[in-house]
């Protein structure tokens, strides 16, 4: 990687200050599971790295009744193993346990993943389906407004994802079909049900990144059963296409994977 200057932030305010001083060329470093490999390939060259792993305010998981708030610095492994989250939103914990591999889950954080908005990342599907909130050092943004296409978010320069929160649904589940090589989601569907209201977030498949599949939501709101999706498909023209999955194949996966998530919920 190119030369860079490392800073270890002790607080969110400290991190924001250092970022300001880096003149816009610095980057926040959380788990580093995406940023460091990118830097190793010399595809990113931040002048400064501001390490958020030692910021106490970004740690912790709080579950208050059914309100779940997860610090941006919490790792996928910590989320997957959180008994509090498992108690109210087991589907979300299961999703965290399917990210990367155990070593990646020990380092990678929810804040970093959300801020990166990789089109094949898992959390965005869940946060869309759960109507989650993204908390930053300066505001709270609904997930629907936060995720804006491939690697694009509502984050402004120097803004840090400090936490995410959501209201646990009555039931939810995640189903993931992996890219055989990278093991990222080729299609992942998070299905959340509150009463009869159903939300479906889909990642890995959409050409514009994570999306809510409204047609499926309507069908499932009427009949919460995998069979309700039998005749539904997404427009293949709106799907990603690559070596491992054409847009037509991905469109098929969206239906199959969503049905399987529904079956898990039901």
């Amino acid at each position: 990687m190119y030369e860079t200057t490392y800073h270890r932030a002790s607080s969110v305010a400290d991190a924001v200050r250092i970022a300001g001083e880096s003149g816009g060329e610095g980057k926040f470093l959380s788990g580093g599971m995406t940023l460091l490999p990118t830097m190793k390939q010399r595809l990113a060259a931040p002048s400064d790295l501001i390490d958020l792993r030692h910021v106490p305010e970004m740690k912790g998981i709080a579950v208050d009744a059914r309100r779940v708030c997860i610090g941006g610095g919490m790792t996928h492994g910590e989320i997957a193993e959180s008994a509090d989250i498992r108690a109210v939103a087991p589907g979300f914990a299961e999703l965290a346990g399917l990210i990367g591999d155990p070593a990646v889950r020990h380092m990678g954080t929810i804040g970093g993943s959300v801020a990166n908005n990789d089109p094949a990342a898992d959390y965005p599907a869940a946060l869309l389906a759960l109507d989650g909130l993204i908390h930053t050092d300066r505001r709270e943004v609904p997930a629907a407004d936060f995720f804006r296409g491939l690697f694009e978010t509502a984050l402004e320069e120097g803004e840090i994802v400090t936490a995410v929160s959501f209201e646990a649904p009555d039931a939810s589940a995640y189903e993931k079909f992996r890219n055989p090589a990278s093991r990222y989601a080729m299609c992942g569907a998070y299905v959340a049900r509150r009463g009869t209201d159903v939300r479906v977030g889909v990642t890995g498949a959409g050409a514009d990144g994570v999306f809510r599949w409204s047609a499926a939501e309507q069908a499932l709101t009427q009949t919460f059963d995998p069979a309700a999706l039998d005749r539904l498909t997404v427009d293949a023209g709106l799907m990603l296409s690559d070596l491992h999955g054409s847009s037509i194949y991905r469109a098929n996966l969206v239906t199959v994977v969503t049905k399987r998530a529904v079956a898990k919920v039901a």
């Binding site: 030369e3 079909f177 055989p180 090589a181 990278s182 070596l243 491992h244 194949y249 098929n252």
Partner: protein, 781 residues
């Protein structure tokens, strides 16, 4: 057998250093003053080099030197060569294009090295490599072999018009045509054997050190055959004279063929050390490995099989185009010819065979031997065809095979080979019993009830190992002999050192070779040290590939042991005042047979070295060497049966069961043999389901990292059910055939036969990814 002799499951002596992190791989080596090399590589698949400006790079921090293709040419460093001459059927020799270690005029694949930067740290070298400015004039590129043969295709080498390297044939065309004329049934298939990347987990590395004071060179390199590396570098590349070059291949982290060859980077490190005056180390990163390690396979074949009304095979026609990439790698010509077409008779009595092979240049990474090398391609052609024929004829695949098995040995095939021993019914029966083939239809029905598609596929392979009699391979064009050497040094205290020209990079030679001593003299394997991989210690050797270390390397040790044993017996007979014919050695003791008169083994050894009381005229010492040249290839064979379940909604295939019944002849250490089979099967299943190189039309390698090239992971594979049957080969003293490649040879057709059985269409290419299987299912509704 003794507890540690032939046939015993002896735990590996070498493991302790590996499990404690004390292995010694090339990248672990440091020498004082060492600097690091980073290569400047072509971003284009095909381009003329306009100029290379090293000015900016030379002034970067930490830079020791920047060298280019012009520098290399100026120093008279020779071009890389292919060491196996193959002639076209018109008698003309193969057309070998020039391959300099650093390109000066034209680059012919993405990743080809153009310049090298040597700097004090890896990061500084990389920084400076980016500052080397190369101007390219892009040329049109061609990626697929068939397209490279078309008129008007971009031309790679002036030496090879039409990109054709050779157009070669084997077998009797007229006889085969005649056989087809009388056929009751002909099965035809179009077969693609996908291009693979070997990907040993240890990337290649080289550390070159020139010592000006002694005018001597040392190269530490990730090699399967350090002596061949030394020979080629001195005789052909003019890097250093053989007697002033020491090549060391220490612990090597897997090879699978890709570390047989002498690559540009090793040559450059050694040369750059002389040019810069500092030791130079290069370690490949994984993307460089994808771009420069020799790839494997990449065949396209039309095959036809003729059968009579009783389902006896009448003849086989094979027409193959093999993509050799941008340059001819060291043994690239032999892989799609003498290691491929010679195996097309398989386990079957085929009275007429004709194979035609065209090899072609394309703007891709050079292709050479990868685990199995030609034999997986032959097996895939034949076993896909046999399974297809059985389906077309409506007979059981096992019965069609059985009907055509060779049962009498020696058997002369129509394609050079003389099979010396085998029992194909035995392995087929063993595999079918282990796989519970009888119960399969019930399992299929059960799976269907769950919405899953089950399939069963088999493959009966034969391969040729222990390559091979030097005289024979010499007549076929090999530039080297394929014997092996060994030296057995018995120390005065009775411990033993085996020096071998074989090289272990995971095969466990330090253990299995020591077992030969345990077997012969009854000494514990702990008393034996196996020394390999250093040209200063071992006089010569041909290295390890083609499953030859057992059949050839160990045979050389046996020959040396015969001499040691004979001398030890003479000494003992003299000391015990007995006839040497009455002396026997076992359990670490040397005794007069049938008596209690004996000496300790160590006493005989000490006597050999004190020289106080030896038979008249005998030289002191107990050290013997041998060169072993095999009489024939050996022919491991077996039957593999794969059972899969396909998820029709996603196309994902799960391998539920994989059964292997192999005949490797005599087995030295069953634990190690099973491990070899496991690893081979994993690579074969990888080829069938997961792995495949993909280039875009411009010649950019799309699968250039583990993010895009699918390596088999633990959850892609089942536990394997492996067993062996045994017919000993009469061709070597141990009766062993070799086991290193069988798994990768026999498994791909078994997997694809199983999937096509499950999905009901035969139109499926490797790797059978979920996307492809799903698409294939759509075509059958």
């Amino acid at each position: 057998m003794g507890v540690e002799g032939i046939g015993a499951k002896v735990l590996r002596k070498e493991d302790r250093r590996f499990i404690t992190g004390r292995g010694r791989y090339v990248d672990d080596m440091s020498v004082p003053g060492m600097a690091y090399a980073v290569f400047v590589r072509s971003p284009h698949a095909h381009a003329k080099i306009g100029g290379v400006d090293t000015g900016a790079a030379k002034s970067m921090p930490g830079v020791v030197g920047v060298l280019t293709g012009e520098d290399l040419r100026g120093d008279g460093i020779g071009n890389l060569i292919c060491g196996w001459m193959v002639h076209s059927k018109d008698g003309s020799p193969m057309k070998m294009g020039a391959w300099p270690a650093l390109a000066a005029d034209v680059v012919r694949h993405v990743g080809q090295a153009v310049a090298v930067v040597v700097a004090r740290s890896r990061d500084e070298a990389r920084d400076a490599a980016e500052a080397v400015a190369v101007t390219y004039e892009e040329l049109p590129a061609v990626i697929e072999a068939a397209k490279a043969l078309e008129p008007g295709a971009p031309q790679l080498h002036p030496e090879a018009p039409g990109n054709l390297i050779f157009d070669w044939e084997l077998g009797d065309k007229a006889k085969t045509d005649a056989a087809f004329a009388g056929a009751a049934h002909v099965t035809k298939l179009h077969i693609v054997n996908n291009r693979l990347v070997p990907n040993p987990l240890e990337p290649r590395a080289a550390l070159g050190q020139y010592d000006a004071a002694d005018d001597h060179y040392t190269l530490w390199t990730t090699s399967q055959n350090p002596h061949v590396a030394r020979l080629v570098m001195s005789a052909f590349y003019n890097v250093a004279p053989e007697h002033k070059l020491r090549v060391i291949a220490p612990d090597v982290g897997g090879g699978f063929g890709s570390k047989i060859y002498i690559y540009p980077e090793e040559i450059v490190c050694l040369w750059a050390s002389r040019r810069t005056g500092v030791p130079v180390k290069w370690t490949s990163d994984r993307t460089e490995a994808f771009l420069t390690d020799a790839h494997g396979r990449d065949h396209v074949t039309e095959v036809e099989l003729a059968l009579d009304a009783e389902h006896k095979i009448l003849g086989l026609k094979v027409d193959t185009i093999a993509n050799l990439g941008a340059y001819m790698s060291l043994f690239s010509s032999s892989v799609p010819t003498y290691l491929y077409a010679t195996l097309l008779s398989g386990q079957y009595d085929i009275p007429a065979i004709h194979a035609n092979v065209r090899t072609v240049y394309t703007n891709t990474v050079p292709v050479d031997a990868y685990r199995g090398a030609g034999r997986p391609e032959a097996t895939y052609v034949l076993e896909r065809t046999m399974e297809t024929a059985a389906r077309e004829l409506g007979v059981s695949p096992a019965e069609l095979r059985r009907k055509n098995f060779i049962r009498s040995f020696p058997y002369q095939t129509q394609v050079i080979m003389t099979y010396d021993a085998g029992d194909f019914d035995a392995s087929l029966n063993a595999a079918m019993a282990a796989a519970d083939v009888a119960g399969f239809e019930a399992r299929r029905t059960e799976a269907a009830a769950k919405g899953k598609l089950r399939g069963l596929g088999m493959s009966c392979y034969i391969e040729a190992c222990g390559i091979a009699p030097s005289k024979a391979v010499g007549s076929l064009g090999a530039g080297v002999g394929l014997w092996e050497s060994a030296e057995v040094r018995v120390n005065p205290v009775g411990t033993v050192e085996i020096l071998t020209g074989s090289h272990s990079h995971g095969q466990g030679h330090e253990t299995t070779f020591a077992q030969l001593i345990a077997e012969r003299f009854g000494l514990p394997v702990d008393n034996v040290q196996v020394i390999h991989g250093d040209t200063d210690k071992v006089q010569f050797g041909m290295g390890t590939y083609g499953s030859r270390s057992g059949a050839v390397g160990m045979s050389a040790i046996v020959k040396a042991l015969d001499k040691v044993e004979a001398k030890a017996k003479k000494i003992a007979a003299h000391l015990l005042e007995a006839d040497e014919g009455d002396i026997e050695i076992s359990g670490g003791e040397v005794r007069i047979a049938g008596t209690d008169r004996k000496l300790g083994w160590h006493e005989v050894c000490l006597a050999a070295y004190t020289g106080h009381n030896l038979p008249d005229g005998m030289e002191p010492g107990l050290k013997e060497g041998a060169f072993y040249d095999p009489q024939n290839f050996t022919f491991p064979a077996g039957c593999y049966i794969c059972e899969v379940e396909v998820d029709p909604e996603t196309g994902k295939t799960e391998v539920l069961q994989f059964v292997a019944a192999d005949d490797f002849g005599r087995v030295i250490n069953p634990m190690i043999v099973e491990g070899q089979v496991h690893g081979g099967i994993a690579q074969g299943i990888g080829q069938a389901l997961l792995e495949g190189v993909s280039y875009d039309e411009a010649g950019q390698l799309v699968t250039a990292s583990f993010m895009d090239y699918t390596m088999p992971r633990a959850y892609d594979l089942p536990n394997f059910v492996v067993s062996t049957t045994e017919t000993r080969t009469p061709s070597n003293p141990l009766g062993m055939k070799g086991c290193g490649e069988a798994g990768a040879i026999g498994s791909p057709p078994a997997v694809i036969n199983a999937i096509t059985d499950a999905i009901g269409t035969n139109d499926l290419t490797m790797p059978a990814t979920p996307q492809k299987v799903w698409a294939a299912l759509k075509t059958v509704g």
